[in-house]
């Protein structure tokens, strides 16, 4: 074994497992729903922890045997990656039936174990390395961090280059190279096996052994099953898998008026990760069909007159762009994050406002918040559409999605970009009882209170169709004749005005709600902050204003309500359950269960061997830093999502920065005396407290800059923290030595990370990212104090270091 072959093998194996983890997040988002992403992270951590438990149970072994295990685990990792991806696609899991079909639970467990397998085998290699060369703990752990950082970049790169199905095979190829690197100085048959595995992994990349198994309830498999449906294009990127399907029976007209009697244009369905994301519509060549645009709820602001400049946020398929043009807009700026959605939206030349379409359209590909922050331009109309489908809105499958377009800070920035007579228009799907609609009203009112408080009384109009509600905001106030125009427009389309300047009492003409909730919400919003607080407290759902530090505008279920659901009849919860939230809580419960079982078993078997009180110091220390690392990562990802504009960029930037810098920190730790380990915990705690207070402020200042500069600045800001966060693990290993300590440390750290992933997400959801930073700070401070105590107990060990 050469000096560099072991770190190289570790780096490549770590790169393969981390890229597999990120790719699993994408695969879960496509095959199931986005909220299963936490399961992917959980299984990775489970595998890491399980390998520690396994080695702890194996007890002391001769070095030659450990070297053999090292070689074999390296060879097994690429095979486990291929077996995991292949076998998991053979398990007929329908996660939607978990509540009432007990037969799905063993399948879920099988999926869990199959996915955890490669992480377990891969981390066994790292753990064996640490056991074989404890004096190089920092270098080896650092190689693991660096490799994982490269794995992040690999995953993002491969998602641009290959469709998700094939991308999933790439980690096995990297792991196979790692297996070869691990066979330095061993028998020839091991080397031959490594070369054979490289060839096999390459063959699997060319022709994957699995196919994507999307659950049948998503829009894509359903529309593709329509008569004469055909897939006309597909694109892949880290931002999503975009597919266009042409089918005569597919039509898209969100919230169309019941009074509409015209014709529909030719349309192709657009899907992102299998869910309907709009339609590429042939508006260009068919002016009759274009009339339809005037019967959609989003057309309401055009009743006030022809706008000069329109900003469409989340323009996606281009329907709202065409609506602006059809209503005579002189200039349209359309903002969309996913360039491939815009590209496929231009399905035919006639359908495209991009190619061959009318001239006055500027597409801004990128984050809308960043555009608004840097743009000096003012618009007569800024519009946000309803987004995803009606069913998805009702089922709460997007509850966990961070959405910075609907926070109070976002609304303030939109209001600041309106001309003197400008209007902001926000349309959302209607649920019963209303949820997102109420939150939009309260958030807009809060934004107006900050930007133009005098306009609260006469600056808002709330309209409602059979399926949607639209809030219009005009900081300069609506004149009586404008209100009359809106009333007349709405009446023709069978829409109701729930609120307008001068509303006396609630009136409903066309669409009856059991309770006049939107009217009540508006009354509370206009009355003042105390009234809003009282309304929010009394409302059955969590509808408080969404902010940049807690950007979950689609999450309405209170944590305590979940207990009521679990105690009551499951059928009765169906209309109110947020499946993203339920899945996250279920993931946490499973993680705690697995972690408890796999931690308690070795604890019971090996507790005596580490001396009295020794094992719990190891467990507390490594569990604390495991939780804290993940909590800090989740908080940083949430806040960088605002800075970089998409969770994928945020995940890639945070993981790369954290892992690479932590890796360098770990390598550097070999030069540090172990007794300084506890200092690191305290300094990290201080830094995290500063991040909790200032990072969001800094992000707001950086928003107008170019994406590359934002990404670079983000990395520079995170680097010192991440560097220091690489120290506690190897320094702790050097202080907390003893029989089986490495395996114990690995197991405790791994399992704390398993639990921390969903727990941190839940904390972020209910308390916000600054609180999560502070909790991570507290955990690091606690770990520092634990290490100090351990150092005092084992003075002899410290003297040796």
């Amino acid at each position: 074994m050469t000096r560099y072959s072991r770190p190289l093998a570790i780096a490549l194996i770590s790169a393969s497992t981390l890229s597999y983890e990120i790719l699993l997040v994408r695969i879960f988002a496509i095959e199931q729903f986005h909220h299963f992403a936490y399961m992917a992270i959980g299984v990775a951590m489970l595998g890491f922890g399980a390998s520690g438990t396994l080695l702890a149970l194996a007890g002391r072994r001769p070095e030659a045997q450990l070297e053999r295990w090292y070689s074999r685990s390296a060879l097994a990792t690429p095979l486990a990656l291929i077996a995991s991806a292949t076998l998991v696609h053979l398990v007929p899991l329908d996660a939607t039936q978990l509540l009432w079909d007990s037969g799905q639970w063993p399948r879920l467990a099988a999926v869990y174990l199959l996915l955890a397998l490669p992480f377990g085998v891969g981390s066994l290699l790292i753990l064996l390395s640490l056991t074989l060369e404890p004096e190089r703990a920092g270098t080896l752990y650092g190689a693991s961090f660096l490799g994982a950082g490269l794995g992040t970049a690999l995953a993002v790169a491969v998602l641009w280059l290959a469709l998700p199905n094939r991308a999933l095979a790439a980690p096995a190829l990297v792991a196979a190279l790692g297996a070869l690197a691990a066979q330095s100085g061993v028998k020839i048959r091991y080397k031959a096996a490594a070369w054979a595995i490289i060839l096999f992994a390459a063959a699997v990349y060319v022709k994957p052994l699995w196919r994507l198994q999307m659950i049948p309830y998503k829009g894509l498999p359903q529309v593709e099953a329509y008569p004469q449906a055909r897939r006309i294009a597909e694109r892949s990127s880290p931002l999503g898998w975009v597919v266009a399907v042409e089918a005569d029976a597919f039509r898209h007209a969100p919230g169309l008026s019941l009074a509409f009697r015209g014709t529909f244009p030719r349309q192709a369905a657009l899907f992102v990760d299998g869910e309907v994301a709009g339609a590429a519509s042939d508006w260009g060549g068919n002016s009759t069909a274009r009339a339809l645009l005037d019967w959609l709820p989003t057309a309401m602001p055009y009743a006030l007159g022809k706008p000069e400049g329109v900003l469409v946020l989340g323009a996606g398929d281009g329907m709202e762009v065409w609506s602006a043009l059809a209503h005579g807009a002189d200039r349209v700026v359309a903002s969309e994050l996913n360039p491939q959605l815009v590209e496929l939206g231009a399905w035919s030349t006639d359908a495209s406002p991009v190619r061959g379409g009318p001239a006055p359209v500027d597409w801004v590909i990128g984050d809308a918040r960043a555009y608004v922050a840097r743009s000096e331009e003012r618009f007569e109309l800024i519009t946000l559409g309803a987004g995803h489908g009606l069913g998805a809105a009702a089922a709460g499958v997007h509850a966990l999605n961070e959405d910075f377009l609907h926070t109070v800070e976002a609304y303030v920035s939109y209001l600041e970009h309106l001309t003197d007579n400008g209007v902001l228009s926000i349309t959302r799907w209607l649920t019963v009882p209303p949820r997102s609609n109420v939150r939009v009203i309260l958030t807009v009112a809060e934004a107006l209170r900050r930007a133009a408080p005098a306009a609260l009384a006469d600056g808002m109009v709330v309209a409602r169709s059979w399926a949607t509600s639209t809030v219009l905001v005009k900081p300069s106030g609506f004149a009586p004749e404008e209100v009359a125009k809106l009333k007349s427009w709405a009446e023709l389309r069978r829409f109701d005005l729930d609120w307008y300047p001068g509303t006396g009492q609630h009136e409903t003409q066309f669409n009856v709600l059991d309770e006049p909730t939107l009217f009540e919400a508006m009354s509370a919003a206009v009355a003042g902050t105390d009234s809003i607080s009282a309304f929010v407290a009394a409302y059955p759902f969590h509808v408080a204003v969404a902010t940049d530090s807690r950007p979950y505008p689609h999450h309405f279920l209170r944590a305590r309500s979940l207990l009521g659901f679990l105690r009551g009849n499951r059928g009765a919860m169906l209309p109110f359950a947020e499946w993203g939230y339920v899945a996250l809580v279920a993931t946490l419960a499973q993680s705690v269960l697995f972690a408890a079982v796999l931690m308690l078993v070795p604890a019971a078997l090996r507790a005596g061997e580490m001396g009295r009180g020794g094992w719990w110091l190891v467990v507390v220390y490594f569990a604390s830093i495991g939780f804290a690392y993940l909590a800090a990562e989740v908080a940083a990802i949430q806040q960088l999502n605002l800075l970089l504009g998409h969770p994928v960029y945020a995940v890639a930037a945070v993981l790369s920065a954290f892992l690479v810098c932590s890796g360098i920190g770990s390598i550097w730790s070999d030069r540090r005396p172990a007794r300084s380990g506890w200092h690191a915990g305290v300094v990290i705690a201080l830094l995290l407290s500063i991040y909790a207070a200032l990072l969001l402020f800094l992000i707001h200042q950086l928003q107008p800059l170019h994406l590359a500069i934002r990404a670079l600045t983000a990395t520079l800001v995170l680097a010192p923290l991440a560097f220091l966060m690489g120290l506690p693990f190897p320094l702790g290993l050097r202080v907390l030595t003893g029989e089986g300590a490495v395996a114990w440390a690995w197991a405790a750290n791994g399992f704390a990370s398993v639990v921390a992933t969903p727990l941190a997400a839940l904390i972020a959801l209910d308390a916000g990212s600054p609180v999560l930073f502070l909790l991570a700070a507290a955990a690091y401070a606690g770990a520092g104090l634990t290490l100090r105590r351990a150092a005092r107990r084992s003075g002899a060990v410290l003297l040796q270091t």
Binding site: D101, Y226, A467, L574
Partner: protein, 242 residues
Amino acid sequence: MRRRIAAIVSLALLPPLVGVVGALKRQDSQAERYENERLAMVRQIEQYGVRDSATLAAMRSVPRHDFVPREQRRRAYGDHPLPIGYGQTISQPYIVAYMTEILEPEPAMKILEVGTGSGYQAAVLADIGCAVYTIEIFEALADSARLRLRRLGYDNVLVRHADGHYGWEEAAPFDAVIVTAAAGFIPPALVDQLKPGGRMVIPVGSVYGVQNLIFLEKDTSGDVRTRNLLPVRFVPMLKGLR
């Protein structure tokens, strides 16, 4: 000799005979079990607030287990939706009863259903005596529902494999319309094909179940008015959310 032959034949016939009798007995006990589950299901639906006697009688009569895939039969009478293929589900029994009650069905009423699925909703309406015209876009589902309804004797249901967007013009107008496949808009043809005074119900949701019911009424002058309903059973749950 003859006695010996008779004994051998009897012995040979005994096992299959025992098997047949056993199978018949099992079938009887299974049928009895399904019936008991069905009655329990309807009692629960009554407790949830469905009062219409015709609806309850139909729910008691229609064998729901015949409308779900074989592997789902033991869960057929549970209070939840079940998958039936093509990403479609058979709705929660309570929702089926609630929607049926809202339509106020009476014998001889003409009802259009868009989204046949397994055919269960159509069978419940047919059991009340309505003439049901049901449209399904997935050919395999339309074919299997047609065969199933015919086998179970629901002759007053017509199943068509077609795009529901255009309704069933030849059979229009309808006393009631039920649209189980709304995708963000209600096809204008369906509103047009509803009689003045007619009722339409649109359950909105996903595979997880109905989240929202939209009820549409067309008055005698042809004007339409909608109501967003929260099914009564779910109202008490809201108290637990505060």
